[in-house]
């Protein structure tokens, strides 16, 4: 009986150790793969220590979309109605990307502009980026 109980305790400790270790590894992996979600204002405020991928949400500024020559992608401005950030993207824009509409993209901060790696359009036409108000509503007020 005594040895049986001892074995149980040992098993329990082993299980807890494994779980703890696994959990710690999990959290580390998690911390290294999260992307902060920022608005242009927040991005400009903390640009100095942005050395990993983040997500940016805002509205595409009207008439700001430009196609660069020689397959160099496009640039456009993203705004949260307070500040604007310039974004460069090489690749296909989703069909829902439109000047004046909301956009969420992930990218890195590079030479004073955002190098977007992906422009997300995983949303319907009524979508607006979290934390922002709809500019069309402001106009109507």
């Amino acid at each position: 009986m005594e040895s049986h109980r001892k074995r149980r305790v040992i098993t329990l400790i082993a299980v807890m150790l494994i779980c703890g270790l696994g959990g710690a590894m999990l959290l580390m992996a998690l911390r290294s793969h999260i992307e902060l979600y920022l608005t242009p204002t927040q991005l400009l405020a903390q640009q100095s220590h942005l050395n990993h991928t983040f997500r940016l949400g805002g509205f595409v500024v009207m008439d700001s979309v430009q196609v660069l020559p020689n397959q160099n992608g496009i640039v456009f401005q993203v705004s949260d109605l307070k500040h604007e950030v310039k974004v460069h993207y090489k690749g296909i824009l989703p069909a829902l990307f439109k000047p004046g509409k909301g956009v969420v993209l992930s990218g890195m901060w590079y030479h004073g502009q955002v190098e977007a790696s992906e422009v997300l359009a995983k949303h319907d036409e009524n979508y607006r980026p979290p934390g922002l108000i709809d500019p069309s509503k402001i106009k109507s007020r």
Binding site: L36, P94, G131
Partner: protein, 627 residues
């Protein structure tokens, strides 16, 4: 009058559900109670079905005075999509959920099985409780029967174009059949725990429900993945999007549960663990509904944000969590110790279920972390796909290794070294053949691919061998081969796929790998509910001379004003060629994306193989029961 009658019928079905819920606690004799529960369950089903059909009629007729019709349907949509616009919105989807719940309640009521019969009326009572909870939530926060009166809009808003696809017809119902099936298993388990009847006979009897639910969930997930691949224009088959995870979490729990039920059937051991998995399956399917429907996480689906709805569902979620904890405490106080030595395979199976639990935890943490971060650290974050891939790839490979060991072991065998060495030899030989074939085809080989293919070959070989040596059934064999195929296909796609993006003018020619891509022309197309620009892209394989013409489109849906990129895919057994037309860059230039994806089909074929395996096991069990 349609929706009003539908509403009255709905209330009637709620009343009979109330009857089903309460009758087991009356002092009638048990047989009378069972008969009463059965009849009231049928009545509940009939009323709700009639109610749903009346709403469906409103959709078919495009009766715009009904709010959900005006919001999700449009008279110009094809018939099929007008029908499935019923579950295009939050209200209709929940209605579908509870309709499937009543259908299951009917199946439970019809069923006859000597072990389950003593539990049946109480299980029906729990199902009726779930029905009442979700049904009252539905009518109070978002009634599907509401009208726009006196003034109704002139035309409907139309279904989101992304949803106008054959996937919409099949994916949500299938997924819900899986979700709700888990709540049936849960209901029986709760009663069995309270009656102290969780034992081998119970495990055997409940298994067919669990198998069925898991199979339906698998089909639902495969359909969802295939749909996203074709419609979202991103070319991936799995995004680790919160909503996808919402369906994947109950799937993992159900997978663990199935294995543990088989263990329980043989040993009467690990009852707490089994009950935990059964409860998790149910709780996670509720959470899935909550995550998808509250719009609390930014996702592919991005439904309307309505915190109130989310809050109520969260409340139900919390209540079922508490119930689960109480259940487990009660269960733990009953569990017994076994004195017999354990059969080897049983241990392996239990270990497998632990692994599925670990992967479940990984997904849960990754999915919920953004919510936690927002609540506690006031920062908005999202967890990217690399997190899931990094952690889950090794876990899945490990579980494949584990199951390839497990299937080789027969029930009572103890000495295994020789057998393992033998099969290891054959596995290595087979793997060499596979690598040789790949090498002859001039494909680059990566270390990760070698590893994954070895594991997959090992699993497929040992499953088929154990079927051949009559240590396992065909169903089990195919299910595991399916898992091997999914692993191999998933790794092949991620290692070997090529992607390139161009801005092209009509007449321009570019090269990608062996393919010569000729952007021929662009034209305008028209259909009943959209206008489209269609590119004609000619692809020629310079090695084999194979020639393809693909026509991707940019569509503008006229009823809702929504744009959608319709990709063109050349489906092949060994590779898919995926072409998407992007934005117009300037007067005469268009963005084009070309992807070559080796083996992507096999991700779904492997899933289908799993379902076939499950179906064979299910039929065999059904037969065994009749004999």
């Amino acid at each position: 009058m349609g929706p009003e009658i539908a509403f009255i019928l709905f209330i009637l079905s709620m009343l009979s559900a109330g009857g089903v819920m309460l009758v087991p606690y009356s002092r009638l004799n048990p047989e009378v109670i069972l008969t009463l529960s059965r009849r009231m369950a049928y009545l509940q089903m009939c009323c709700l079905t009639a109610s749903v059909l009346l709403l469906l009629w409103a959709f078919i007729e495009s009766d715009l005075t009904v709010q959900i019709v005006a919001r999700y349907s449009h008279a110009t949509m094809p018939f099929m999509y007008r029908v499935c616009a019923l579950w295009g919105g939050h209200e209709g989807a929940l209605l579908l959920w509870i309709w499937i719940l009543t259908a299951y309640a009917c199946v439970v009521a019809i069923g006859r099985h000597h072990v389950l019969d003593t539990l049946r009326s109480h299980a029906l009572s729990i199902l009726a409780l779930i029905y009442l909870a979700l049904g009252s939530f539905l009518v109070i926060t978002s009634s599907p029967f509401a009208r726009f009166l006196p003034a109704s809009p002139d035309s409907g808003q139309g279904l989101n174009p992304l949803l106008q696809d054959v996937g919409m017809v099949m994916h949500p119902p299938m997924l819900y059949v899986g979700y709700v099936g888990l709540s049936v298993v849960f209901a029986f388990t709760v009663i069995a725990v309270l009656r102290n009847q969780v034992n081998a006979q119970f495990a055997r009897a409940i298994q067919s429900y669990a198998w069925f639910a898991w199979g339906a969930l698998t089909v639902g997930i495969i359909l969802g993945s295939w749909w996203a691949y074709r419609e979202l224009g991103w070319g991936g088959w799995w995004f680790w999007d919160p909503v996808e995870n919402a369906s994947f979490m109950p799937w993992l729990a159900a997978l663990g549960l199935l294995h543990m039920l088989m263990v329980l059937e043989r040993t009467s051991l690990w009852i707490v663990w089994t009950v935990l998995l059964a409860a998790l399956g149910f709780v996670l399917s509720l959470m899935g509904t909550f995550l998808v429907r509250s719009g609390i996480l930014v996702s592919v689906h991005a439904f309307a944000e309505d915190p109130q709805r989310g809050l109520v569902l969260l409340l139900y979620f919390g209540a079922s969590m508490i119930a689960t904890c109480l259940l487990l405490m009660r269960c733990a106080s009953q569990s017994t110790e076994s004195k017999r030595p354990l059969a080897v395979r049983v241990r392996w199976m239990a270990a497998g279920s632990v692994l599925s639990m670990v992967s479940l935890l990984t997904v849960v943490i990754g999915t919920l972390y953004p919510l936690i971060a927002q609540a506690f650290f006031q920062e908005k974050v999202s967890v990217g796909a690399p997190y899931f891939n990094q952690i889950l790839t090794p876990i899945f490979l490990l579980s494949a290794v584990l199951s390839s060991c497990a299937v080789q072991v027969s029930a009572r065998q103890q000495k295994l070294t020789r057998q393992w060495l033998q099969s290891a030899f054959w596995i290595v030989m087979l793997e060499c053949v596979v690598l040789g074939l790949i090498f002859l085809n001039h494909q680059p080989i990566t270390l990760k691919w070698v590893l994954a293919s070895t594991v997959a070959v090992a699993l497929a070989y040992s499953s088929l061998m154990s079927v051949y040596q009559r240590r396992a059934s065909w169903g089990m064999g195919w299910a595991h081969v399916g898992f091997a195929v999914v692993i191999l296909a998933a790794v092949s796609v991620s290692e070997f796929e090529t992607l390139s993006q161009w801005s092209l003018q009509p007449g321009e020619v570019v090269k990608q790998g062996d393919w010569r891509i000729h952007f021929q022309s662009i034209s305008t197309q028209k259909a009943s509910n959209y206008r489209a620009r269609e590119a004609h892209i000619d692809l020629v394989n310079t090695q084999t001379g194979e020639r393809l013409m693909l026509k991707p489109q940019q569509r503008l849906y006229t009823d809702s004003g929504t744009a959608l990129a319709k990709v063109a895919i050349d489906v092949g057994v060994w590779r898919d060629i995926y072409v998407a037309l992007g934005q117009r860059l300037n007067q005469n230039q268009w963005a084009v994306r070309v992807m070559i994806k080796p083996g992507v089909r096999w991700v779904w074929y492997g899933g289908v193989l799993m379902v076939i395996g499950m179906w064979m096991v299910y039929l065999r069990r059904a037969q065994a029961r009749e004999v």
